[in-house]
């Protein structure tokens, strides 16, 4: 295809639908229709009134002079008399942040160890890390109930050992939720870090050693900064979904573990208040916009680096 050729034949050819358009268009259309548009709808509905009907939203809307009504759902979220929503947001951010840090502390050494293992062993180890996440998450979280209950495996074991007289309360605590989130998302932390570490040039570390650095210094001054992309990607892959987690705090946590995912679920299913649920979702999205953008940036950088 020579550029600038305006002969009638090639002009026609360029105007006709090309396979290229279809390949770009089909996924674009699908994601636009089924991922982007829904968010626009959530946004619109978050301003509406709930109704006792099916669907439980009043679709006829009287905009005239109803500014207060317009933002009623949002002002409810930030009502200083009822801190439920604010606490839920802050609680979720805290839970997600702590879990992310724990996952990083556990996952980085794992990724490091796998990256340094001999070639064939690496594949097997990686497979072993990923394998659990292919089995049902719901079921694996359920497994932790049996471990963390007051008459569960861990408590029975500790009491049998004589280390404690009465069971330690682990279910329905922050601790249980941390374990659940780390357990569920650990492979998501390990994988990006591993992918990054495995590309490191080993001669860099040799050069550092030649220049007199010990392994500790070399690690912190060379390996860690080089793996920063992987670290950030891993952290975002854990933090962002963890903020909106529902299953783990619902099953392992209790009424004290107020997370925004649970709140949204309850508003939607228990209270049948779709507009407020929508407002909760939009606010959650706004809170997450920054980490999501960071994640997209890293993804694009990786894409460009490798081309």
């Amino acid at each position: 295809m020579t550029a600038g050729s305006l002969a009638p034949q090639s002009l026609l050819k360029r105007l006709l639908p090309q396979p290229r358009w279809f390949v770009i268009g089909a996924p674009y259309l699908w994601m636009f229709l089924f991922f982007f548009i829904p968010f626009a709808i959530v946004f619109v509905i978050s301003f509406m009134k709930p109704a006792v009907a099916m669907p439980p939203v009043e679709f006829e809307y009287d905009l005239a002079g109803n500014i207060e009504l317009l933002t009623k759902n949002y002002t409810r979220l930030f009502d200083l008399d009822d801190l439920l929503y604010i606490n839920a947001y802050l609680g979720s951010l805290k839970m997600a942040a702590v879990s992310t840090i724990l996952a990083l502390m556990i996952g980085y050494p794992v990724a490091y160890a796998i990256a340094r293992a001999p070639g064939a062993v690496r594949q097997v180890l990686l497979m072993l890390v990923i394998l659990p996440s292919w089995t049902s998450l719901l079921i694996r979280i359920y497994a932790w109930i049996g471990l963390l209950k007051n008459n569960g495996f861990i408590n029975n074991f500790l009491m049998w050992l004589g280390l404690t007289d009465s069971p330690i309360q682990m279910m329905q605590t922050d601790f249980a939720v941390y374990i659940g989130i780390v357990y569920a998302y650990l492979p998501f932390m390990v994988l990006p870090i591993y992918t990054n570490l495995v590309k490191h040039d080993p001669t860099l570390l040799e050069a550092a050693a030649d220049l007199g650095a010990n392994r500790f210094t070399a690690f912190w001054k060379i390996t860690v900064p080089l793996s920063m992309n992987g670290i950030i990607a891993g952290c975002m892959l854990v933090f962002i979904p963890a903020v909106g987690e529902f299953v783990i705090p619902e099953i392992l946590g209790g009424p004290d573990q107020l997370m925004i995912g649970k709140v949204l679920w309850q508003e939607f299913f228990n209270n049948r208040d779709w507009p407020v649920a929508s407002a909760v979702a939009i606010t959650m999205l706004l809170v997450l916009i920054l980490p999501i953008t960071i994640f997209q940036r890293i993804q694009n950088k990786e894409l460009e680096d490798s081309q």
């Binding site: 390949v23 089924f34 340094r116 890390v129 394998l131 497994a143 679920w265």
Partner: protein, 285 residues
Amino acid sequence: MNANKNSIASWTWLAFAFAFLYVPMALLIIYSFNESRLVTVWSGFSTKWYGELFKDRHMLAAAIMSLKLAFVTATTAVIIGTMAAVVMTRMGRFRGKTFFSALITAPLVMPEVITGLSLLLLFVSLEQAFGWPDGRGFTTLWIAHTTFSAAFTTVVVSSRLREMDQSIEEAAQDLGAPPWKVFFVITLPIIAPALVSGWLLAFTLSLDDLVISSFVSGPGSTTLPMVVFSSVRLGVSPKINALASIIILIVTIAITIAGVLMYKLEKKREREMEQAVAEGQHQVK
């Protein structure tokens, strides 16, 4: 990164991490054979819970539903994901590529409650405006599952497309093959393992999805995770342990087979390439 070998400390940490990952699953399986209903007090070996599981019609119906759904979802997700991956890695720059890239990768991190809620509201609005979809059911579940799975299949396939040696594609183009032929005859066989693992990934994601399914399912289209969830809420039961063990067993077998198969196929392809190169060199001489 083979500069240094792992220290004992490294291997120990790895061992603990694997114990952390696998011990809960092992206990789950062990206690599925427990005689007693109390899931954590061992009282004898029994397979009765497996029997009870297979008598539970509600659960079996949900299992079949989930399997069908996962199958269809995985296939659609791989098709869309491969197209998206080709767009991301082979089509250079075009207007709107950043937006496209954001659209395709956002579901990777989006909390499921948000995706679920938004999809349900979409379906309800569409129904209000156009009359379709007529209530929620298999179709809405399929659309929802495909949407979030496609993000994952895109990542899997595009990473393979980026890794592979593009000079083969370029050679084919130089020899006059049109782009679609290059893709189907040259590229596709090379990225086939990624398509398979993408398919398997989408399959498991769909099979296991709870939150999004809860939002977009309708009466008569209950999925297995939804049934398990309501059962778990009522209390712990060894029947769930039995179900869990079966799932773990099937997934392990499937992944092992897939892994071995792909390894063998890859080796075969490498051998064939070496042969082709050797023959070419021989002819030149």
